[in-house]
Each structure stands twice: as structure tokens, then as C-alpha cells.
Amino acid sequence: MKISYYPGCTLKTKAKNLEDAALASMAALEVDFEELPRWNCCGAVHSLADDDLIHHVAPVRDLIRAMERGSDKVVTLCSMCYNTLARANLLMRDDEVKRKTINDFMDEEKDYHGEVEVVHFLNFLRDEVGWDKLRSKIKVPLEGLKLAPYYGCTLLRPKNVSIEPPGHPKIFREFLEVLGARVIDFAASTLCCGSYQILANPEAAETVAATILEGGINSGAEALVLSCPLCEFNLSKKQGDLLQKNMLSQEVPTYYFTQLLAIALGLGGEVCRFDLNDKISAELLKSKSLPSCDQAILT
């Protein structure tokens, strides 16, 4: 079984902290991943208009690249890429008419019928690595950290691509428990962060982002755990604005789930690129005597 890894655009720039920590963790878990040798932007969102097939071409091309390598799985880290690839995959698997149109249009590509499975890294860790094996590899348990997992939208909606059966998701909780953290569930963990409205209607996006952050800290969490660079932007990078506008009562540390994985696997702070997080996130780890980043960034 060959496993392809699809990074997506943002992981190569703004979200290096999501990717680097994941790649180091995959190596430590002896998972044989290979980045697709050629890939393109998935388009970030699934086209919802019934007649708009052209925008499915980008994600389908990525899936064809994985199929050509003989992969039966393509693993993603970014929630938006996961959603876009998974939905395009289902479309190619289930909609005979659209599949034919798209395959005919891409006349130089091999025909695609949904052969590859799109898997989010959290599911990969649970189903392929297994919680027990992962638990046995933990060297630095995240003891004393009170973490609130934040799912957002694209890991769970729509139902046909949800990373868990719809209802009360628990995969993120299980993952963080394996890492040794205390997990705090909170009601806003599946609320939308405002997504791309941060560009078009920033006030609307800021309002929901503040609701999520306040919900997390009011439930007793010390930090939020994320898997999407757009959620990270709205929930972390924009915190300065929220504080300034009195929409938020205090700074809230945030981490990508892969950063916490790398720490717990004993890979140290270096691979986690905490310099790309808010300072307060690295400081919280340091206050718990967990690896974070060098002092120069903290001071």
C-alpha cells in the first residue's frame, strides 16, 4: 500500500508549523508517506453550483496524480483540502453523468472513478497507526495541559465527508487523550470560524471567532487545538484585532494538532515552528515545562 501525501498551498508557506511537525511525526511513527510529486491547488472550496464542473477539475487532477502512483490513499492535513478533495472524490465515484463529462474534458488524463481514498491525518492516526501504537510511542505526555479541540466545519460537514459518523465527534478528544492532555469539550467546537468571510465581511467573521474563543476559555480550556490554517488565521492571527475591539477578554493560545503530536512524540520544539504561532502559545508550553521554542522568540 502506497500512501500519498497532499500538502496544499498554505502548508508550504503560512502553515509550515502544521506541515513540518506532521512530517517529523510521520517519520517518527515510521509511516511511509510520500508527497505527490506534482500537485496543484485543490481550489479550497467545493463548487456547489450544479452546472459548475470546471472547478472540480483541479482536485480531480490531484486524485489522478495519486492514482498514477499506485496509491490507494491520499492523506491531507489541512481541513479545507480534505473537504475539497473528499467531495470531488465522491462526485467522481457516485455521479456517473458528471464523471463522464469531467473525464472527457481532461482528455489527456487517465479516466478517474474515485479509485483513491481521501483520508484526513487524524483518521489515519486512528485507523492505520492505531491509538495503542501511538500511545506506546509517547515520550513527553502533555500532562497538565487543558486543551479544547476545535473541529470547525470542513472536517464534519457535509455529512458524506464527515471524518466521523455525524453526531458527537470524538476523534479529536481521543487523539489528545492519547497524547496525555486533559481534554475540554465545548459547545462552539463545531461552529464555523467565519471562514473566507474574514476577507469579505470581517466583522461577521470576527464575531463568530470571538464567540468560539470565549467559549473555549469559559469552558476551562487553556488553549484551542486546530487543523485548518484558515481557522488558525481567524482564531489566532486575528486575536490582536479582537482584543483591541474589546470582543475578546484575553489572549488564547492555539496549536495545530500536529505540533502537539510532535511534542508528545519527543521530537522537541524545533520541528514545530512555534515562531509561526502566537508568542503566548509557546509560553504556555514553557510554563508547563514542555518543549516550545528558543528563548529568543519568547522574549
Partner: protein, 135 residues
């Protein structure tokens, strides 16, 4: 402002276009309001999704367009997964956006974004926003 429902609006091809683009039967909506309860943007909306559905059922194209609801929608699918009638409302919102965008009007003008904004935004924010808000 009074809203006039006439034979002309009910028979307009707007209703058919929305149904076709969204692939959803908007007439199934029975106005329960579950969608608005689930919508993260409802606090910012002058017109809740339920009302948009009613207006669309009556072919009130201009009123729907003026509401701006579909421009505030974040395509989060919270409404779609909770609608008791099984309507994928996110697709209806997309159809409404597309009906505006296909008149060659952009809601967001990429060239007018401040350079600091472009610099700080993750790519997925820009790609998704331009996909939803430009023609």
C-alpha cells in the same frame, strides 16, 4: 417596505434557475427556521435563511438580492445538515451568489484589497473568497 407577490414573480424563471443551479427543491421548505438557528452568521443577517427561502419560493429576485444574506454566508453547511426537509441550503446560497456573479459583478474586488491584507492572509482564505465572491 411592502413586498409584492404577483403572478409575474411566481412565474419568473428565477425560481427555476435557483432550483436548477442548486439542485434543490426550494418548495420543500416549510419555514421552521432551523437553518437560521444553526447559522453562525445569523446575528449579522438582516434577513435569515428561512426568509430567503420564502422569498425564493415566490420568485422575489430583487428582494433576495437586496438582502445580502448569501454574501454573508460562509458555506459552513450547518443549515444543510440540520434542515428537517433535507434541503442543502448551502447550495441554494451558492445558486443565489452565482446568479449575481454571472451578471459579471464581483462582490469582492481582488485588485482593491490592501497589500497588507494580501500579505497576511493564508492562501486558502483568498482562494476560497475569490471562488465565492468573484465572477
Amino acid at each position: 417596505m411592502p413586498i409584492t407577490i404577483s403572478e409575474k414573480t411566481i412565474k419568473s424563471d428565477f425560481i427555476e434557475k435557483v432550483k436548477k443551479l442548486s439542485g434543490q427543491n426550494i418548495h420543500k421548505c416549510f419555514q421552521c427556521g432551523t437553518c437560521g438557528g444553526a447559522c453562525p452568521m445569523s446575528g449579522q443577517l438582516a434577513t435569515l435563511p428561512r426568509k430567503i427561502m420564502r422569498m425564493a419560493q415566490f420568485g422575489l429576485e430583487n428582494e433576495v438580492a437586496e438582502s445580502k444574506t448569501f454574501w454573508t454566508c460562509a458555506s459552513c453547511h450547518s443549515c444543510s445538515v440540520t434542515c428537517p426537509r433535507g434541503i442543502d441550503l448551502a447550495k441554494v446560497m451558492e445558486a443565489l451568489r452565482q446568479l449575481s456573479l454571472r451578471k459579471n459583478v464581483n462582490y469582492v474586488e481582488p485588485s482593491k484589497l490592501p497589500s497588507e491584507t494580501v500579505k497576511e492572509m493564508p492562501q486558502i482564505a483568498m482562494v476560497s473568497c475569490f471562488r465565492k465572491m468573484t465572477s
